[in-house]
Amino acid sequence: GQQVMQIPQYQHVQEGEDFTTYCNSSTTLSNIQWYKQRPGGHPVFLIQLVKSGEVKKQKRLTFQFGEAKKNSSLHITATQTTDVGTYFCAVPYGGSQGNLIFGKGTKLSVKP
């Protein structure tokens, strides 16, 4: 079935350092979504990427969709303690797009 690999599993950074998490699929994706889950919280939708090579920015967050639509990345510039949490990518299951399959997530910790 559809799977998506997300790396790294954990990332510890000093406040002010940059952070990147990657998602990779063996199949071409119609779209990819990114979510953030704060400790003790629930996942919150960040963004959806649809087009090949698409780049979207939200303040210090930059999201990219690969040219082949098989991979994506989330980059945070100059991390802050408020960025702490787990970042998940999510892709449509099979071809139905009826539901999403989530990556295992990258847990980000930020040392002040």
Binding site: F45, Q97, G105
Partner: protein, 115 residues
């Protein structure tokens, strides 16, 4: 409502008992999803509804799990004869449509503990 509402927020039950978890999605959202998240783990898909029908039940772990949705709104997830391995946070999400890649809005979840 303004968000996805789940109840109860916490449930402790004895092994072998049945439990019902409730999800009230955002008004107008036709798609509803159930996921399970074990401590420190990712999200495991259970089932989704488009309207009142469930096109994909493939994620339900066993026949002890069932779900229904009535009136295109509230959904209940029922776990019969609970086992300790059922302990997890059960998350419900809704979206405008199941097709077209709409973002999910998650509820705060029900933390189920089977003792």
């Amino acid at each position: 409502g303004a968000g996805v509402s789940q109840s109860p927020s916490n449930k402790v039950t004895e092994k072998g008992k049945d439990v019902e978890l409730r999800c009230d999605p955002i008004s107008g959202h036709t798609a509803l999803y159930w996921y399970r998240q074990s401590l420190g783990q990712g999200l495991e898909f259970l089932i989704y509804f488009q309207g009142n029908s469930a096109p994909d039940k493939s994620g339900l772990p066993s026949d002890r799990f069932s779900a229904e949705r009535t009136g295109g709104s509230v959904s209940t997830l029922t776990i019969q004869r609970t086992q300790q391995e059922d302990s997890a946070v059960y998350l419900c999400a809704s979206s405008l449509l199941s097709q077209g890649g709409y973002g999910y809005t998650f509820g705060s979840g029900t933390r189920l503990t089977v003792v």
